[in-house]
Symmetry: C2
Subunit: 379 residues, 2 copies
């Protein structure tokens, strides 16, 4: 009877930026560190600089001193400087590990080094920690806190738009033109005051909003739709909020009213369909059909995509975009998934509109993790 | 005569987070995208969602539509969904590329997929773009702009500390205790108002500051050293600033005065030594010797590191920590490198002190990219 090779999970990443590393260690570390499982215990390596903090604040079962293991690797392999792969190989020898399972985003250079030391490295081919997709009550609450920071941002936008005056078609506030940049800064300050960092916040008006990832720049205009998409990360927990509202200051055209009402109706109806067992592709297709039925087609016009040309939603958690995706290639929804619902329609000339909320999938009706009115028209 | 296999550079990363991808494309994209060189032309793939923006705003020579290449890969390999590795293999076939050079942080899962399609993937084993280490005037200016955001933060700290009162040993401002969290939020707002995002800003007093990566929490106390380390990223350019100052509100002990004066003298003298051709290890060792000569030893006390136990500096640019490192294992400095100079001393009970500035290495005297007084004592 031959023994199975011992396979353990290995990470090498900075948990400030890598969601798996934070999920595994529950501590923010700015530089990449080695962490691994051994018989279901979670072990991390810390330099002197991080050792005390990692022992005290992480969820790891054991913290090993990096410098000691670097010395060990130098002796074992006869190298002047121990690379991360050397240290990992030393750990593998000590803990009798033959192969490591790693995330698909594991650094290729380190993987090559480990392989060169005779160990197997297997990519997860999917999620390293599938449980990350299914949020606990505490995680759902952390995401809801992120959305409250988004809401603080929307309240600032609404106050600014209400107080703004219209001069020759553009918006003015406190004697200065109201620009995307000014509104963005005000939003991000409001998020900071709620303990969350918002970066790349979208405040895009007119045709700029028809490019869904355009952040927006320059003066905001009256009678144009303005998309505001705020996805702040809560500093204390690392979880993101993600919400979008669309506004118009002034007087909308009938076509703009119809656009907004169509997107909002699609969003509200799609939200109710996020129930365990539902088919993501079917929910996405239904939104497409609602848009077509209302006369909003999706097609390239002069090479530019118009209509509804992005996914309906994505998982939200320690990353702002994480599994699952609800789109043309969706899958069955599972209780515990936290998903954005964000249909949008974009037509250069007419403008863009998107509404985005966040739900947790349950066996019964979806649990809403975001709440803010849809008062898009500001007089 | 056998032909050399055609090797090109390949990237697959989100340029919002990956410095190489931003350096290559000059556009911020939130999700990973494929980019590669072909005979010194830079080519990127964009989904419909990013296509127009990438054509307009990136520095790429050509942008290819992702969806078309996904269809091509599906047909070529007979798969229902084209993975990034499949699309890359299709591109390689079309452009007659046999192997790709990738960054050490290239995602292992994708590399395995590319290898499975019969292509070679070679890690850079070091920097993918060595020129990133040598900053142009425009890059140096962008880093200096980041440091101006840090300075805006220090000014806020100094105003708050000056206005604060001391009640039973802790600091109070506007009727509330002055905490690390409050000061951090005020700093990060000041950075935002300068167009830069500061995250994980350190405001750590007393023994908290002896753990150099501790962000700091809770009430700030009088007569204790407070380390403030601000490293904001300029939204427009992606470049970071990184500066540290140490403060004390109240009355310092003679030992605290000596600690601060020793660190400051070491920092100022180390700055002047950052000249092309100088040996980084020698500069680091000199700081160590200055500390020992002043009576400040470096050793573990009860398992806790004390003294000067981190590197002297690191490269700064599109990442807050990038090559080179100036430390025990330093290398010769090269003109164009932008480096932080940040000696520190840490003794639980006495407190921690660090000063950090940024220089660009030249053949003559170092070019300072940061400027702010060292008025550490606030009455």
């Amino acid at each position: 009877m031959s023994a199975q090779p011992r396979t353990e999970t290995l990470l090498f990443a900075a948990s400030d930026h890598d969601a798996d590393a934070f999920y595994f260690s529950a501590i923010f570390v700015p530089d990449p560190f080695i962490a691994f499982t051994h018989r279901s215990r979670r072990i991390g390596l810390a330099s002197q600089l991080e050792f005390a903090r990692m022992c005290r604040d992480s969820s790891l079962d054991e913290v090993l001193p990096l410098e000691d293991w670097a010395e060990r690797a130098k002796a074992q392999f006869g190298v002047a400087n121990a690379q991360p792969a050397d240290i990992i190989a030393s750990l593998a020898a000590h803990y009798k590990i033959q192969q490591f399972r790693v995330s698909d985003s594991f650094p290729f250079g380190v993987a090559c080094g480990i392989q060169a030391r005779g160990l197997n490295v297997l990519p997860a081919n999917g999620q390293l920690f599938p449980t990350r997709e299914l949020k606990t009550d505490a995680e759902a609450a952390a995401i809801a806190t992120g959305n409250k920071a988004s809401v603080a941002g929307f309240k600032v936008v609404e106050r600014m738009l209400k107080a703004a005056t219209i001069q020759r078609g553009t918006l003015w506030l406190d004697g200065k033109q109201l620009t995307s940049e000014r509104v963005r800064t005000a939003i991000e300050i409001a998020c900071l005051e709620r303990g969350a960092h918002a970066v790349n916040t979208i405040v895009a008006g007119g045709d700029q909003a028809c490019d869904p990832h355009c952040r927006g720049s320059g003066p905001l205009r009256a009678n144009q739709l303005i998309i505001v998409d705020i996805f702040p990360r809560v500093a204390a927990t690392g979880y993101f909020g993600d919400m979008t509202r669309t506004y118009l200051k002034g007087t909308p055209s009938p076509a703009q009213v119809k656009l907004v009402e169509t997107v909002l109706a699609a969003e509200q109806s799609a939200i109710t369909r996020h129930i365990a067992g539902a088919d993501g592709t079917a929910i996405y297709n239904e939104v497409c059909q609602q848009f077509v039925a209302a006369g909003f087609t999706t097609a390239k016009v002069n090479g530019v995509p118009t209509g509804f040309f992005h996914g309906l939603g994505h998982g939200l958690g320690l990353e702002v975009h994480e599994p699952p995706r609800v789109s043309r290639n969706g899958s069955k929804l599972v209780a515990g998934q936290v998903i954005t619902v964000e249909p949008g329609l974009y037509y250069p000339g007419l403008g863009g509109c998107r509404f985005e909320d966040v739900v947790r999938v349950t066996d019964a009706s979806p649990e809403r993790l975001s709440a803010h009115p849809y008062r898009w028209l500001v007089k």
